[in-house]
């Protein structure tokens, strides 16, 4: 099993993701955004951070990094592609997921645990979870407020592609309290909160594990 964890200039969660995936039995490998070959990878994670300083818009410059062609190829082939926080924003900018994120409703950086409700299990991120599960996971973002045209939101809702929703208070003003979505194939998923930061007891919550376990479970084994 081999997961590419992509590092852009300004990415800062790659080691957390690498560590958490290793704990769950995956074989992650950090790859640089200028790499152009992911032929050995059966899945990809775009981790959080501030790629390219979040200049212009979050994810806007990263979306054109050389590696993104490979990420797009893997996504088209049905391989699991997961974007966490800044990685989610890249997937939106790249058009692999619909919508965009804008500044939080209260214009403040949010850095705390939030409760998420699992609202669909038809994705590489939620396959092992149960609808209605409440997960306590850190949110760490300024531009985490998910928006999309009304017609696009209606499609996401009707197709059951909203996989995670903020439970209780909506922390950032996100449309319909959306915290995570998936594509039609269920193999590309993005979320604003950080499951890797809730993957061990020492971190105060292990609720992110079920999400990462789903991702790891969806990876094809590497052919010998």
């Amino acid at each position: 099993m081999h997961v590419a964890v992509v590092v852009f200039p300004g990415t800062n969660c790659e080691h957390d993701v690498d560590h958490a995936l290793s704990l769950l039995g995956a074989e992650p490998e950090l790859v640089w955004h200028r790499d152009v070959d992911l032929s050995g990878a059966t899945g990809v994670v775009l981790p959080g951070g501030f790629a390219h300083g979040d200049y212009l818009r979050t994810g806007a410059i990263a979306r054109f990094s050389p590696i993104m062609k490979e990420v797009e190829r893997l996504a088209a082939e049905g391989a699991p592609v997961l974007g966490i926080c800044n990685g989610f924003q890249m997937l939106c900018e790249a058009g692999l997921l619909p919508g965009a994120t804008v500044a939080n409703r209260d214009l403040s950086f949010i850095c705390r645990h939030v409760d998420l409700e699992v609202t669909s299990t038809k994705s590489i991120l939620t396959a092992n979870a149960t609808i209605g599960d409440i997960l306590h996971i850190p949110l760490n973002s300024y531009e985490g407020n998910f928006v999309a045209p009304e017609s696009e939101v209606a499609i996401l809702e009707s197709e059951g592609r909203v996989i995670l929703r903020y439970h209780g208070e909506n922390p950032n003003g996100s449309t319909n309290s959306i915290a995570g979505i998936t594509n039609r194939g269920g193999n590309v998923a993005g979320l604003m909160p950080h499951p890797e930061r809730a993957s061990e007891d020492v971190l105060g919550s292990i609720d992110g594990r079920v999400l990462l376990e789903s991702f790891v479970g969806s990876l094809e084994p590497v052919p010998a």
Binding site: L56, A60, C92, G99, A100, V102, V147
Partner: protein
């Protein structure tokens, strides 16, 4: 030659900075203020003869996100 691209948030999307600033202007007595929108401007130096369409293409591909932003292109 130089173009200026002005990018603003699409109507209907929250613009808390604009709303707050509009309220501040109104409180100062500028009753004629109906709304304030924040955005950003990008000045682009290009070789002479570069068409507006070319700048428009740059906006669509990279500079603006059509999901959340509108833009106008002006030659200055």
């Amino acid at each position: 030659m130089r173009y200026v691209v002005s990018i603003t948030r699409k109507a209907g999307l929250a613009d808390p900075e604009g709303t707050t600033t509009a309220a501040a202007l109104t409180n100062l007595g500028y009753r004629e203020v109906r709304d304030v929108h924040f955005g950003r401007t990008i000045h682009i130096e290009v070789t002479d003869g570069t068409s507006t369409e070319r700048i428009d293409e740059m906006c669509r591909i990279l500079l603006a996100n059509p999901v959340i932003e509108d833009y106008i292109v002006e030659e200055v």
